[in-house]
Symmetry: C2
Subunit: 392 residues, 2 copies
């Protein structure tokens, strides 16, 4: 596995060595329950609090505003369900067409009427061909029946960054709770939540070099909140269940590391991404970058190679040990083209042939060289085999 070229960091990341070392004691001798009376368990509560501070430092907020969860999906679900619970008379939810399934599929279920819940009105905001929102659309969608507006900070498939500060301000003006799925933004974009009109924000550990199975939800102080996972008194009554200590410590260490690396992400990583993108476009005809004219994450490029299947490209890259993806891992297995690219109006023939490369600080110039060398002949060969033919 050592010669894998890993460019699928928006799907998941390698656990950083520092993170693995930080969590190790909690998988060994320090196994107590932080809620216990005895010293052996009780002192572990301090280690959980240190991790909370580390996450708060990355987010620019107070540690009391950080609730640990099991993943980004749980954070997203918790935020939206909480808003519905604290505004039981409101029956409207606003999201965008390009949200992660953890927001989108939940909103779609609410709109269908789910179990004992009433049906919700759901406004799913469209995006432009570059993946951006029209801000007046946001304002028009909000009304006093809106329980929550949930718009991601950055898109997982294209890297397009949304103007969460302006969206949050519009929500605040109309008295609507604003949640943002920032799973892809945290650690890549500096943020100071204390200064932003954001009520709730989702974090996922495994997108920033912590293990899978840990996340956090920022809940602004003063934001009305109703817990979703009901059990013991943990997380200041905001999330039941024994604290996943090793995982929490890992997220804290990953947050600290991300803070130290964020400048590198915005300089060296963006340069790698830009070179990869530029060279691939130069060497492959009929290729286009999705979302290129928008503000984007430093690490992500989503390229459509027209008239061929993205899956075929991935399988051939795989033979060289190059890991990339077509859209989100969370929707793998579906034969439909990405809902994100469809929402952007990317033509069918291009949406099907899209490949996402998502880099991290662990990528090197040599990685980019290899992809630039290997991919253009793959594209050429697949085009020759393509049942779509090629219009020339």
């Amino acid at each position: 596995m050592s010669d894998v070229i890993y460019m699928d960091n928006n799907a998941t990341t390698r656990v950083a060595d520092e993170v693995r070392e930080a969590m190790a004691p909690y998988l060994a001798k320090a196994y107590g329950n932080p809620s216990s009376v005895h010293t052996f368990g009780g002192r572990i509560a301090h280690d959980v609090d240190r991790a909370r501070q580390q996450v708060a430092d990355l987010l620019g907020c107070d540690p009391t505003e950080v609730v640990f969860t099991s993943c980004g999906t749980e954070s997203d679900n918790t935020a939206i369900r909480s808003a519905l619970a604290v505004y039981p008379a409101r029956r409207h939810v606003v999201t965008s067409r390009v949200e992660h399934p953890a927001v989108r599929n939940l909103a779609l279920r609410l709109a269908r009427g789910e179990g004992v819940l009433p049906r919700y009105r759901h406004t799913e905001l469209p995006v432009n061909s570059d993946g951006t929102l029209d801000l007046p659309d946001v304002g028009n969608a909000l009304d006093d029946d809106t329980a929550v507006c949930s718009i991601m900070w950055a898109n997982n498939e294209t890297g397009v960054v949304f103007p969460v500060e302006r969206i949050g301000a519009m929500c605040r003006e109309t008295g609507v709770l604003f949640h943002t799925d920032a799973v892809q933004a945290v650690g890549k974009i500096p943020m100071t939540l204390a200064d932003l009109p954001i009520d709730m924000l989702s974090v996922s550990g495994h997108k920033l070099h912590a293990p899978k199975g840990i996340g956090a939800l920022y809940v602004r102080r003063g934001c009305r909140f109703s817990p979703w996972l009901i059990g013991g008194h943990q997380e200041a009554e905001r999330r039941g269940g024994t604290e996943a200590v090793a995982q929490i410590v890992a997220l804290g260490a990953a947050a600290e590391l991300a803070g130290r690396r964020i400048d590198e992400e915005r300089t060296r990583v963006v340069a790698l991404r830009d070179r990869l993108e530029r060279e691939l476009l130069a060497r492959c005809p009929d290729a286009r970058v999705n979302g290129t004219t928008a503000s984007r994450l430093p690490n992500t490029t989503n390229i459509s190679f027209e008239y061929i299947e993205g899956e075929s490209i991935l399988l051939m890259l795989d033979e060289y040990g190059i890991c990339a993806s077509s859209g989100s891992a969370c929707t793998t297995g579906s034969l439909e083209p990405s809902h994100v690219l469809r929402a952007m109006g990317v033509p069918y023939t291009a949406a099907h042939g899209s490949v996402r490369f998502s880099l991290s600080v662990e990528n090197t110039d040599a990685d980019v060289d290899k992809v630039i060398e290997v991919l253009p002949p793959i594209i050429k060969r697949l085009r020759e085999l393509s049942p779509f033919g090629r219009e020339e």
Copy 2:
């Protein structure tokens, strides 16, 4: 920490060496996302499936019936919420007075009417002074408005075991879904779910020597189910969120280990527990075992030392590095005596002075010797200091 005598295994357990070794690769080189197309990620799906088989083997069920969750609390919440969702017209929930907060607090919220949900009728079955249920009470509580009956397999505070097979049969007769929180029973009581009338069952990893932050929910094939954590297609559409691979592999390894150790649990551990209990009762006047006449878990004893505070006993034991607890870690911080002991009608002066010792296969004869030596003088000293005095 090496000379801690740990008798708080119902709160949490040490991660077994075999478990830590099994999960290690997934915190290092094998970091791919199991939903990815590339081999690097995709082959990890097989490792998740192997863990699912290991858990199924311990439970005596089919691996397709195992859904991984983040903890026992999530499993409990998911089971109950699912039942409400699949029977939206039913408005009644049956639990017992001695359930874990993950069931009890959820049921109490449902009974108050929570957020947008309707109010539920909630029957909370009483228990006898030995902590057992009267079976006719169960039958009388069930009606065709009952969405779910949730009764634990074994109580975390007293170790009292409930007749889940008979309760399940009564539920099946009346067409009510039966869920059991088996967090304390799994690995201590052999079970073959394929032969039992149980629809859903909760498992917690950290109660059986896996890390904190991983659990499972058994969902019987054919049982109507509605997912609670909405996101991607993971867990066969039953639980969204990227699979917590290292944690899942750990639970699998812990399940396999528990299967191998279950006979030792029922022989050596029960002998340790019995000796501890017998000697403490002989050496401490005004002590009583709660739930002693009932069928109990092999590892648990809950002893009330009248006229003194359990917390004081724990603090003094702590000075000797002995870890025990007063009731559940999930309710620590509350000044109320345990809801379990109150439900059993244990007098206030005894309920306040209760200490739970919960052993594991890692305990030794020397551990028991030490507690037997140390605790009686502590009780004597605390009684002399007690503001309650002692009626003689």
